[in-house]
């Protein structure tokens, strides 16, 4: 089980801010593929990964980052602070 959290329009498209996901995905990219297969709202939210960023355990990561040992995966658009 892994915690998956969403922010900004990713959260709005998926409809929940956080959920627990049962997965055997090896990488972030594999997890995205799994989620897209679930329901249309996921397919829509993850349709353009170039518009997405990912954090593994609260550190920015690549889509190829391994999930082994990870507790929390976050998906969100490019940040716009400041």
């Amino acid at each position: 089980m892994i915690d998956v959290v969403y922010f900004a329009w990713v959260r709005e498209r998926i409809g929940v801010p956080r959920e627990q996901v049962e997965t055997k995905a090896a990488t972030v990219r594999d997890l995205i593929a799994e989620l897209r297969g679930r329901e249309e709202r996921y397919d829509l939210a993850f349709s353009d990964t170039s518009a997405l960023r990912v954090a593994v355990d609260q550190t920015l990561a690549d889509f190829d980052a391994p999930l082994e040992g990870a507790r929390e995966i976050a998906f969100f658009p490019p940040m716009t602070g400041g």
Binding site: F7, W9, A55, L60, A74, P78, M79, T80, G81, G82
Partner: protein, 146 residues
Amino acid sequence: MDIRVQEAAFDVGAELNSFTARAAGAGAVVSFSGLVRDVNGGLRAMTIEHYPGMTEKALTEIAQQAVTRWALADAFVVHRYGQLKVGELIMMVATAAPHRADAFAAAEFLMDYLKSRAPFWKKEETGNGADWVAAKDADEDALKRW
């Protein structure tokens, strides 16, 4: 080093005064503050979402990098989240160093990284609805100079 993420408003003058008092030996103090700006007219409010936990972690890492790289006497970041009105202060950074060039460079570095690497997202609400602010290529490009 003082890093704060808060919903409450802050007083930029009071923050600069207390930062300056702490860093008085440094000689040079630079501050940057950002305010909600109504670029196209009709902005009713701005809502800032953030990633509790990661935000503080990312800001602390960015500030520590700045302190190390420019041998700062001190650094300060405060960033708000929640709903803000036009003209309200969004955030502030301050740096203190023996020489002005270091204080300026470190403040610009902090701002460039904060813009694109700290997990904040802005949503703007106008008469035509609400939209997430798109990240600017220029902000991502600004990181390349460091």
